[in-house]
Point group: C2
Chain length 138, copies 2
DNA sequence: CACTTGACTTAGACAAAGTCTATCGTAGGA
DNA sequence: TCCTACGATAGACTTTGTCTAAGTCAAGTG
């Protein structure tokens, strides 16, 4: 993750304790935290950090393409640091757990021109829904 | 849409003016209204209708499988009456316009067992993102 | 057709998630 | 070391949706 901090510095980011902490929280695979969860974890390390700063920093990371926003329901958006490896999501309908998955094929090619209605199609999100093993046995 | 009203009556729905109006508003292809838009249009025909009733009725229609919820961002959920014809969505990143689309192939079969992590996969949503013709020229 | 009853509706309070604003603080260059 | 513009802060505000208590009415019953 320190390479993330390096990249950000290279892009002219002013490095602050708050931004460093937010970036550290968003480290690892299969991380899909809400803004509030990011705030809570960041506050463990830096108690004075404000919600607005967390929202601002997450927004900047998304704009820079370092983090993806994931919206699986009308609850809070989640933030996925795994932005440089294309992937989709598998969501548990009961507990909301999220896994990164890598389907075969490219869904972009399965949308024929006749179904594009003149849109310039730039991306695609695929969300598989199901029940996770924990919820299935419970 | 009157067949929808018939189906609902057949399922034991008590028929009220409010429910009829909500069902009428959700008629047609490429209809993707937010709850507030449904409420506004319903209120044109029935001014006293309350927001809670619109939310309740939409929730019931979703539970009955007559209408789909579509979540494309952290803004309001949208309601899609085209529930009986499987389809996916093409969303304009600028203005938020939504079109129903029908890609080729079945994305469910492109998720190998090794990528299912023990989940029972029940469904899949595909959201294509791009820029619509109107926004491209503007 | 009038009565009854529980399902339905209502207004408005409440809650969750996110945005905005005015002010204060500080990273990093001179 | 000092300055200053960029960043952080608290908290008010907005949007979207849920809940509750009380009133209303659709439709079955006699």
């Amino acid at each position: 993750m320190s390479d993330l901090l390096e990249r950000l510095r290279g892009r002219g980011w002013r490095m602050t304790a708050q931004r460093r902490v937010v970036a550290e929280v968003l480290d690892g695979d299969h991380v899909h935290l809400t803004a509030d969860e990011v705030h809570a974890r960041a506050a463990d390390k830096l108690p004075e950090i404000s919600r607005a700063t967390v929202y601002n920093t997450l927004g900047e990371l998304v704009t820079l393409g370092e983090v993806l926003e994931v919206t699986t329901d009308r609850r809070a958006k989640r933030y996925d640091p795994n932005a440089h490896r294309p992937h989709h999501h598998l969501v548990c309908a009961r507990c909301g757990a999220i896994r990164d998955v890598h389907p075969t094929g490219n869904p972009l090619t399965s949308l024929p021109d006749s179904e594009r209605f003149g849109f310039t199609v730039e991306g695609v999100e695929v969300t598989y829904r199901g029940v996770c093993p924990d919820c299935a046995t419970a």
